[in-house]
């Protein structure tokens, strides 16, 4: 652990520092949105959105490298795909009389398939692994600004609309009866989730998004009496998971994403077991 702290302050390896700062900043958004995702029970929607992100990344790479649109960064593709997936799922669940989980499953797979096809047709060797499993060590200084802006946006919206979002998550029908446009707030929530998912993809990769969105909030839920307690605690737990995960991955030369997730999962299990033991005493 001491060598990790030393590495954080080592001017020669800034990427460790960037990764750490990115993790801490992003945890704020993860905690808040993760809490909504867990209490509103939309973690599978978050999963579908994250897998659609690969489609956007693939399209971005294809446009950039094959078509030659140089400003078209894969991150823009990721953002666009995530938002599109969120809007599609939201509209389908509100208006189309389809089984929501079928649509979610379909988008999940189609997003991935499109991404792989685009990557296959893009010249040069691109390893989809780094997108699937993430690499927080690739984060640049510019990314930190992006993450900070997104934090401000998410925290701002969450505070301003806090009570309405709580009401919509708790009892949508009643919220509608109070003149709240529940559908619009649900879409807003899904779009915020999409933005957060893109951030999480940078940290732990597409496949493990659900875990980092839900585990901190699930752990925090065991110690919270109010939704905003849960959000704050979830953000703190998330910081703890990412910080510790990074430290271990650095010390033992392991990929950071899986270490973060395994550690978060272990803490979650311990809290559940501890809780049920405590209740029996």
């Amino acid at each position: 652990m001491t060598e990790f702290i030393a590495a954080l302050f080592d001017p020669n390896i800034p990427f460790i520092r960037y990764a750490f700062i990115a993790g801490m900043l992003a945890s704020v958004a993860f905690g808040i949105i993760g809490t909504y995702v867990v209490t509103r029970r939309i973690s599978y929607i978050a999963g579908a959105i994250s897998h659609c992100v690969l489609g956007g990344i693939g399209l971005g790479l294809y446009l950039q490298l094959k078509v030659g649109i140089s400003w078209c960064d894969p991150m823009y593709g990721a953002l666009a795909a995530a938002l599109a997936a969120a809007v599609i799922i939201g509209l389908v669940s509100m208006y189309a009389r389809q089984r929501e989980d079928t649509v979610i499953g379909a988008l999940w797979a189609i997003g991935m398939a499109l991404g792989l096809l685009f990557i296959a047709k893009t010249p040069g060797y691109i390893d989809p692994m780094s997108y699937l499993f993430g690499n927080i060590l690739l984060i640049s200084k510019g990314d930190l600004w992006l993450i900070a802006c997104l934090d401000i946006l998410i925290v701002g919206i969450s505070i301003f609309f806090y009570n309405k979002l709580v009401a919509v998550c708790f009892d949508e029908e009643f919220a509608r009866m109070r003149g709240i446009r529940a559908g619009a707030y649900y879409l807003l929530l899904l779009c915020l989730t999409a933005l957060t998912v893109v951030l999480v993809v940078r940290v732990v990769g597409i496949v493990m998004v659900i875990a980092l969105l839900t585990l901190p909030a699930a752990v925090a839920g065991h110690f919270s009496q109010r939704l905003w307690h849960m959000m704050a605690l979830a953000a703190l737990f998330c910081m703890f998971f990412i910080g510790t995960g990074l430290a271990y991955s650095y010390s033992y030369d392991l990929p950071s994403g899986p270490v973060i997730i395994v550690f978060a999962g272990a803490v979650y299990l311990a809290v559940i077991l501890g809780n049920s033991l405590f209740k029996r005493l």
Binding site: K164, V166, D171, M177, H229
Partner: protein
């Protein structure tokens, strides 16, 4: 000048996926009436409520609440759902739930001091002021039901609509709830849905029977024959007051 009816329904038809749920419904409810809606399961009670609340649109006909379209006057309606389909671990306090009744057309979702005062007095009304800081999910079924009533009261509604409020509560709680409703009935129009005929109590001015069609009876005229026509089986009335009992006092 004659007072406008609170609820006015004319020639309403409604169907789900082609099967008719309600047909030819005509109904007028005036101010300060207390109405009990009864009928068998699947008879269309909840559908009728949702039409009045504007959550569903009729295939044909007209629904007016306070003389306007239901969705335009929602803020005047306090709705108490049968149960809240919320996450059982949703971390929200009793006070927070009641405060939800104060969310109106304001853009921001922040509460003001007046909202908290109103929420507190609504909790006093249902005698739950002492648990206001408790976790909502930690309450008993009856307490939850009273919290939902307080939430509807905090809306400062003129029309209170309750969907099966006694479904999950015991007899004592039911007595308390009926007392509360009786008190409220002096200054609010109340509409209560139940599938349990035992609740046709004297606090209600009329009973509405819903089974595809809607028939209105003054409470006193409810007889065993009407009930049997509606439910199609030999059902005994549980006596709640002397005027309306039929077939004596049986519990089966």
């Amino acid at each position: 000048m004659q007072t406008k009816p609170v609820i006015y329904i004319k020639d309403v038809y409604f169907s789900y996926n082609g099967s008719i749920v309600l047909e030819n419904v005509n109904l007028t409810i005036s101010e300060l009436e207390s109405i009990c809606i009864v009928g068998p399961n699947g008879g269309g009670k909840t559908t009728l409520l949702k039409l009045i609340l504007g959550l569903l649109k009729p295939d044909k006909g007209e629904v007016r609440v306070f003389g306007r379209k239901p969705e335009q006057v929602r803020l005047k309606i306090g709705y108490i759902p049968q149960y809240v389909q919320h996450d059982q671990q949703f971390p929200v306090s009793v006070m927070d739930v009641v405060l939800m009744g104060r969310l109106g057309y304001r853009l921001s979702g922040l509460y003001k001091k007046t909202d908290k005062v109103a929420a507190r007095s609504a909790l006093d009304e249902v005698e739950l002021a002492d648990v206001s800081e408790r976790l909502f999910s930690a309450l008993s079924g009856g307490q939850k039901q009273r919290v939902l009533i307080a939430r509807a009261l905090a809306c400062e509604a003129e029309l209170l609509i309750l969907d099966e409020p006694f479904a999950h509560v015991d007899a004592l709680v039911e007595e308390n709830l009926l007392d509360t409703l009786h008190r409220l009935s002096t200054h609010m129009t109340i509409l209560l849905v139940t599938h349990d005929l035992g609740f046709i109590s004297k606090i209600f001015t009329s009973v509405i029977c819903v089974k595809r069609e809607v028939v209105v009876h003054p409470t006193c005229e409810i007889t065993g024959e009407i009930i049997q026509n509606m439910y199609g089986k030999n059902i005994s009335l549980v006596r709640h007051d002397h005027r309306c009992a039929e077939k004596g006092h049986t519990h089966d």
